[in-house]
Symmetry: C2
Subunit: 158 residues, 2 copies
C-alpha cells in the first residue's frame, strides 16, 4: 500500500508534466470480444468484411480504443495518483483506424490546472492524451479534466 | 439481410429525430470485469470500498458507461443505419455515478446535419445522447458527429 503522501498530488502536476503510455498490443480476440459486447458492427467483428472496407482490416471500436487508453493511463499514473475521478471528457478524436495487430503507445500531458473554490482540498487538472500506432501515426487525441487532491490545501500554489 | 435502401440514411435523419435507448441493467459482474481489464480503480472493483466512498456503491467506469451507451445505440439504430463510422466525440459528461444494479435508458436525438463537400455521398449528422437511471436522474450526456450515406446524392436536400 502506498502512503497517501507518496501519491501524485495536484502540486506534482505542473503544466507540461508528461506521462508515457503503453506500449499496448491490440489483440484480435479482444477487439472481437469488445465489439461483440458493445459495438457489434461488421468492421469490428469480421476480418474478411473489414479487410475489404475502407478501414483496411479488423478495426477496434472507437470506444475500445478509449478503454485501452484508460488502461494505459491507469498503469502509467492514475493508480498512483490521489485522484477523485473525472467529470467527463472534453473531446475524443479518432484520427485513424486502430487495427488488430497494431501496437499503441502515447502520452498524457498536463495542460493547465486550477483549484476548486467549492472544494479547497481538490484541484482540476486538464490533461491532453495522444495515442500513436507502431508507425508513429496518431490514432487518438483527447483532452479531459481530472480531479486530484491537494497535498497541502493551505499552501499558496496558484 | 436488410436491403441498403431500407437502411436509415441521411435523408431520414431530420433534426429532432429521436431514438429511444435501453433499458439496460448495469450488471455487477460486468462492472467488475470491465474495470479489471481497463480501469482497475477501487471504486470500480471493490464493493466494500465503493460503499464507503462518495459514490455510494460499486460504480461503473465512465468508459464502461460509454461502452454501454454504444451498445444501446447499436441495438436501437446504428446496426440498421447506412453508417460510415464516427470521427470522434464532441464531449462526454459523466453527471452522476452509474452503480451496479441501476437500469439505464435514454435517447439519441439529431441536432443538425450537413452534406460533405469532399464526399458527396456522405453527410455528417450531429447527435445528442442522454442516459438516465431508474430514478430519471441524468447520468451521462454526450454529443458526437456520425457519417451517414446519402440515399440520393443528387437530390436537393439542404
Amino acid at each position: 500500500m502506498t502512503a497517501d503522501a507518496d501519491l501524485i498530488h495536484f502540486e506534482d502536476l505542473e503544466p507540461g508534466t508528461t506521462f508515457s503510455l503503453g506500449p499496448m498490443p491490440v489483440d484480435k480476440a479482444e477487439v472481437i470480444a469488445f465489439a461483440s459486447q458493445y459495438d457489434a458492427q461488421p468492421m469490428h467483428l469480421d476480418e474478411d468484411a473489414a479487410r475489404h472496407s475502407l478501414l483496411g482490416g479488423l478495426a477496434a471500436s472507437g470506444w475500445h480504443t478509449c478503454a485501452m487508453l484508460m488502461r494505459m493511463m491507469a498503469d502509467a499514473y492514475i493508480r498512483r495518483m490521489a485522484g477523485e475521478g473525472a467529470p467527463g471528457v472534453d473531446f475524443v478524436k479518432w484520427r485513424r483506424p486502430v487495427l488488430a495487430g497494431d501496437v499503441l503507445s502515447g502520452s498524457s500531458r498536463v495542460l493547465t490546472r486550477r483549484r476548486l473554490r467549492s472544494r479547497p482540498e481538490i484541484g482540476i487538472v486538464n490533461m491532453r492524451h495522444q495515442l500513436v500506432n507502431q508507425r508513429g501515426e496518431v490514432v487518438l487525441e483527447s483532452e479531459n479534466p481530472v480531479m486530484v487532491r491537494i497535498r497541502a490545501p493551505d499552501g499558496d500554489l496558484a
